[in-house]
Symmetry: C2
Subunit: 385 residues, 2 copies
């Protein structure tokens, strides 16, 4: 195997584009200097269309979980009842955060690999009027499920006064989000997914009704206190030293997204999903999720004729192609392939054709090129050429 | 002025060494991969001598303030009484964090520019036996004061059962710290100071008696829950996605510190402080702190014959030399010059000789070279050549 080649195709962290890597190599600057203010002034307005909001998108130094925790503790208080929609490991993370703060969770659990239905949420909320917030995962990274976030918004607001908090960690920047139009109250993401950056930043936007709750909430918090970020934003600043290197990278990421155009970015992800799914379908390898529940950013297969982890090992050893296994109850049972951020249709062809060889190497009786061909056809039919 | 030249001489963020910059440009890896485990296995034991501890040093993604908050909320609970030693803006930050969590603060205030005396703390603790923790700032970045952390440890443990929590943000890695031998219970630092990295990581080590409190503490927390980091450490992992780019950089920083030798690193900072002080002394410009209270990482001058901010502006415009002004009550009254991390005696000569020109440019009647000469003499006398 060619040394020093690695194709990182896990659902985040994702590869960094060379120009972003170079942007992050700029010399350090003072975090209270004009340079930092200018950087923030350039970056922050550009985040709004990605979130689909007119609100400021606040930037915190921390992992995606830090953002989720900030979303929860700024809006909900100990003893409050919330509804968490659990469709996989990241739905469970919301539950864990709430548990840590003595927030009472109602939970709707859906089989891992399925999306929640709006009807289920609607009837639950109607019979539980005390619920103050609903937490949902846009793309459930652990399964490759895309939950119907827009439709959920509708039923949530029709049937309750609850705030709607959405984990957009492996979706925002790859999948269209219209936070304001749909009625999402808090939307969170991280830097290491569709934003094509290293981990270390988390982004949060809040609706005006969420800001009212945030301002009035007396839950103890300091570093995660969104009021501090909001206040600093008005001065083109941050309350605490920001991750300057990642801000440099973000400036370049925004240029790349602008050059491609957001609609094209979303279209590319949709196309990659379709190529992936057609390939596995044609190879006769079961997909974990239905077409309706599939995420444009991560595809999971659930093989019934070979060991998932055996194929993953061969792919890594032979090609340096790194995929992800299952989490929780799906450990050892699935393979997850990330296709978000710095990933294009030609990368999908590479992944699929390499997987075909891997399947042969572990003794599977498949026709080489059959999956690739299906993906190629999808590409040609898409007109994206 | 030569375009694209900037000399960042603020007390953090500090310049990044080229080899660290290159290390951070390595391609992204999976945060749950063997590569990340190996990286953590290489890095983490090397942090222990820098902190002077046999305990694990935990790494969180976040600003230094995130580390200070984690230190507080893992060990203290609402309603507990603590003593905060306030010698400047970062002592006040401890107070703000405690206030956010309804922790009752006793405060010893010292004039900005002075260090606290152990006697003051001793007598305070003797008359207030209910105090559960004492919080102190090793180097107070806002004034360039180095508090007597070792001596404080002694009086704190002799006169109370309180935990001793130390903000080491602009000292650890530049100044000797013997956490275990001195009796520090929690020691915190950040990446963007003596560690020569961009901001975005915070480091925390805890003594075994602090770990007992941490384990027993039921204060609500999730992302900042040090128990999670401790548990993951045992598996060479992290509970949440780490800032992988900064970990790559940290691996190289540790190589640089190893090559120089920690004792020499500390010696270099001490020498730079002496050169700075001798220069200003010889130029007749008042230093903010006494020799005894001076920090090896940042020097503040408090001019009485010219406007601090006027000189700062000339230095930036003429040489791209960036210094820091005063914070809080010292705003506009002082100039702070950082000399930590990627900074050497020759850089100090550059700073001083440039400042001499700046002084002339703002109309001061000084003898050019007088400060530089004093610094040169200190260097030659030190035998570090």
């Amino acid at each position: 195997m060619l040394s020093d080649q690695q194709m990182l195709r896990i659902p985040g962290p994702t590869p960094i584009p060379p120009s972003v890597q170079r942007a992050m190599s700029q010399p350090m600057i003072g975090h209270r200097d004009r340079d930092t203010k200018e950087l923030l002034r350039k970056i922050k307005p550009k985040l709004k269309p990605i979130f689909g909001t007119v609100q400021n998108v606040e930037i915190l130094a921390g992992s995606g979980t830090a953002g989720l925790e900030a979303a929860v503790i700024n809006t909900v208080q100990p003893g409050d009842e919330v509804l968490v929609i659990v469709t996989g490991a990241f739905g469970e993370r919301f539950v864990q955060i709430c548990n840590a703060y003595n927030i009472i969770t109602h939970q709707i659990h859906v089989s891992w690999g399925d999306a929640v239905t709006p009807e289920k949420v609607e009837s639950y909320l109607q019979s539980h009027p005390s619920i103050k917030a609903v937490m949902a995962t846009f793309c459930e990274t652990s399964t490759g499920v895309l939950n119907p976030i827009q439709q959920l918004a509708k039923v949530i607001h029709q049937s309750s006064e609850a705030l709607y908090i959405v984990d957009g960690v492996s979706s925002i920047g790859a999948i269209e989000a219209n936070m304001d139009a749909w009625g999402i109250d808090i939307l969170v993401t991280g830097s290491q997914k569709a934003f094509m950056l290293p981990p270390g930043l988390t982004f949060i936007a809040a609706s005006s009704r969420a800001w009212e709750k945030i301002e009035a909430n007396d839950q103890s918090r300091y570093y995660f206190d969104l009021r501090k970020y909001h206040h600093s934003s008005l001065l083109d600043s941050t309350p605490f030293t920001p991750s300057l290197t990642l801000l440099y990278g973000l400036e370049q990421v925004i240029k790349l997204l602008d050059q491609e155009g957001l609609a094209n970015v979303f279209g590319r992800h949709d196309l990659m999903m379709k190529m992936m799914r057609a390939a596995f379908h044609n190879l006769g390898i079961p997909l974990l999720t239905s077409e309706k529940a599939a995420s444009p950013t991560v595809t999971a297969i659930k093989p019934n004729t070979f060991q998932a982890d055996e194929l993953r090992k061969v792919l890594k050893d032979t090609f340096g192609l790194v995929t992800a296994g299952g989490q929780g109850e799906l450990k050892g049972k699935i393979i997850r392939i990330g296709h978000m951020g710095y990933c294009s249709p030609t990368d999908i062809l590479q992944v699929i054709s390499s997987i075909e060889i891997g399947l042969k190497m572990i003794g599977m009786d498949i026709t080489l090129g059959k999956g690739t061909q299906a993906a190629q056809k999808i590409f040609l039919r898409s007109g994206k050429h």
